[in-house]
């Protein structure tokens, strides 16, 4: 009768909450697994998108730092009348006198076409270009010879050619053999080497390179450079950029285009995140569907387990005990899905990054965000069913 006679309120320990919350998962494994799968797929998608984009950015940045950001290219633009301009033949020598310039190489377009042999119809040019190239070009572009050798002072005077990788493929030349030759403007040139791809100067890949003296002697090359590759001290790149046009063509500096090829790569690294929004959106949709699945399962579970709820109320469970049991069960379910999803996301990132030779980068926000999203989804999806379970009056849930 007195207040003192009322027994103390029972309190569930965290370990007991864990025990009762895992009942649904332990007794209905297939159902729990399937409903957690939706969450797992959504979280995996989000983690993989963030992981892959970070890993590929890391890969690109590693590539950029290998190639260097201090390369500038000088090319002829157009005259004020819209015609193609030319760089003066003395431009490389003049640019070389700029203080911070460390090296300078150049190529010049030779106006001839290249064929596998004389019997190919002249119209089938394969979009290849023939270029006169200076001897230090490969080092400047940070590329190398895949097969054979590059031009040297001796072969630069002879009818000898080095093929870019795309050019070799289009000509059907897979290796460098003694006596291998191609047909350049009514003249055989011997193939002495095939290059690796040049990331900073993709136009080299589809070019056939010959020496300047040979181009002038055999192919009627006029000697005007069309691309000048300039390496400058890294901290002086902008200063050199500013004076290059006037130095290359003091008479008409406006007819000179100066560009920085690495800038395009940096832009590419940044642009990759543009697609992230789309994929993250898809992942979020998968998560939403997963949440609906978990909520659905919890609603069914509450209906099926009316007698269990009644028994627990009879054993002395308060409404709060019932609420926390079903809420924790939903959170546990979503958390299991989230953990599996994070693992899957990391695994798929690792596999893809490894095949691309990228460093494996999983941003902290990706996996913490994945787990947190699962937790929040579990709590939201489980709230309504848990409230319903707790609202059942003991006699309603109680077996009669």
């Amino acid at each position: 009768m007195t207040a003192a006679a009322i027994p103390l309120h029972g309190r569930l320990r965290p370990s007991d909450v864990g025990r009762v919350a895992s009942i649904g998962l332990r007794t209905r494994k297939l159902r729990a697994g399937l409903s957690a799968l939706g969450i797992a797929i959504g979280v995996a998608a989000i983690v993989a998108v963030l992981g892959l984009s970070s890993s590929s950015s890391a890969g690109l940045l590693a590539e950029i730092s290998r190639l260097g950001t201090n390369l500038l290219t000088v090319q002829p633009g157009t005259t004020v009348f819209g015609k193609n301009a030319e760089l003066p033949t003395g431009a490389p020598a003049m640019i070389a006198r700029i203080g911070p310039v460390t090296s300078i190489e150049d190529t010049g377009n030779v106006n001839v076409n290249a064929y596998r042999n004389p019997y190919i119809p002249t119209i089938q040019t394969n979009a290849l270009s023939v270029q006169a190239a200076s001897l230090g070009l490969l080092a400047d572009l940070r590329t190398s010879v895949a097969q054979g050798v590059y031009l040297n002072p001796a072969t630069a005077r002879e009818p000898a050619a080095v093929l870019g990788p795309a050019a070799a493929q289009r000509l059907g030349i897979e290796g460098v053999y003694q006596g291998e030759r191609i047909w350049l403007d009514k003249q055989w040139f011997y193939v002495i080497g095939i290059l690796n791809p040049a990331t900073l100067a993709p136009n080299i890949d589809s070019s056939i390179l010959v020496g300047f003296p040979a181009a002038q002697h055999y192919l009627g090359f006029d000697g005007h450079p069309t691309t000048i590759y300039v390496r400058a001290q890294t901290n002086q790149v902008n200063a050199v950029h500013g004076v290059l046009a006037a130095t290359a063509n003091p008479e008409n500096p406006n007819e000179v285009n100066v560009s920085q090829p690495s800038a395009a790569l940096v832009a590419r690294a940044d642009a990759q995140s543009a697609f992230n929004g789309l994929f993250l959106g898809l992942g979020a949709v998968a998560l939403l569907v997963g949440a609906v699945g978990v909520a659905n399962i919890m609603v069914i579970s509450v209906l099926e387990r009316r007698s269990e709820i009644g028994l627990r109320r009879a054993l002395g469970a308060t409404k709060g005990h019932i609420r926390i049991q079903f809420l924790s069960e939903a959170i546990l379910l979503a958390l299991a899905g989230g953990t599996v999803g994070v693992t899957l996301g990391i695994l798929s990132t690792a596999v893809y990054a490894t095949t691309k030779h990228w460093a494996i980068v999983i941003p902290t926000i990706a996996w913490t965000g994945g787990i947190a999203a699962a937790l929040i989804i579990g709590a939201i999806a489980g709230l309504l069913p848990a409230l319903r379970a707790a609202r059942m009056s003991p006699t309603e849930a109680f077996p009669v």
């Binding site: 009768m1 009322i6 569930l12 009879a314 077996p399």
Partner: protein, 270 residues
């Protein structure tokens, strides 16, 4: 049971309630005082009409009546799962009407044990953990719950298979597990709803024999049944019909006073 009751119960109850009702005596553990229950449907259904009786510690009684006589409603009210429309229900002197939902849950956790016709055992749990769940909501740590569950299993004669699953047991053994779960908290009263309803006659008889043994150990048990032959075995029988008590008879036993069935005047308890 009685020897173990005092130390285990200590600390869970307030000091002025130390004299635990399970340990027998003549203190009323359950008072049903002019209780009426009306279900608010159209038209309203009166399930119980002015029902009064008192159960004292150590009693074994049957509440018997045909279906529709108000047994189940009475069970809900005695078990504090529902509240009366009028009148009072007191468990160990505490008026149910004055308690919040949380207080009622705490009261059920510590002072009332339930036994059901369908057993309601968790199949994924061992026998001992099923019994230990009887203390889940009474703030008892797991190791202590298990230790006390083993004692309760001993009490119902199932001590040798504590780690079995309920699915590996016979019906009678399952009901013994359920009874152990009801006893593990040493409640003031055990409410058994058709405890033999799912069992054959022999097995049911052994459950009733178990109730007799527990009765000798001064455990208070109320059996709710429709079966007159079961009721006939009990020392006290409350017969119900159409929501009213039609008879409340007690066999005079050795050392047991006559004359139960008169409602105690309200306000007599501490």
């Amino acid at each position: 049971m009685t020897s173990a009751a005092a130390p285990l119960a200590a600390g869970r109850f307030s000091p002025d309630n130390q004299a635990h009702p399970t340990s027998g005596g003549t203190r009323p553990v359950l008072e049903v005082d002019h209780v009426t229950k009306v279900y608010p449907s159209q038209p309203p259904v009166t399930a119980l009409q002015d029902v009064s009786f008192t159960v004292t510690g150590g009693e074994l009684l049957a509440i018997v009546g045909p279906s529709g006589s108000g047994k189940s409603t009475l069970l809900h009210l005695m078990g504090t799962l529902d509240r009366p429309s009028a009148g009072h229900v007191r468990i160990t002197g505490v008026d149910v009407a004055s308690l919040s939902d949380r207080d009622l849950a705490a009261l059920r956790a510590t002072r009332i044990g339930f036994v059901f016709q369908q057993f309601f055992l968790a199949e994924h749990q061992t026998v001992v953990d099923n019994v230990a769940d009887g203390l889940l909501y009474a703030s008892v740590p797991l190791t202590q719950r298990r230790a006390r569950a083993l004692q309760a299993l001993e009490l119902v004669g199932l001590a040798e298979r504590p780690w079995a699953r309920p699915t590996q047991l016979s019906g009678g053994q399952r009901q013994r597990v359920a009874i152990a779960r009801a006893l593990v908290g040493q409640p003031a009263i055990v409410l058994a709803d058709e405890p033999t309803g799912n069992l054959d006659q022999t097995t049911g008889g052994s459950i009733l024999t178990l109730f007799d043994q527990l009765h000798h150990q001064k455990v208070t048990i109320a059996v709710i049944t429709h079966d007159q032959t079961i009721a006939a075995r009990m020392p006290r029988r409350i017969e119900m019909l159409d929501g009213r008590i039609v008879a409340d008879t007690t066999d005079p036993g050795p050392g047991e006073p006559d004359g139960h069935g008169q409602p105690a005047p309200p306000g007599q308890q501490p």
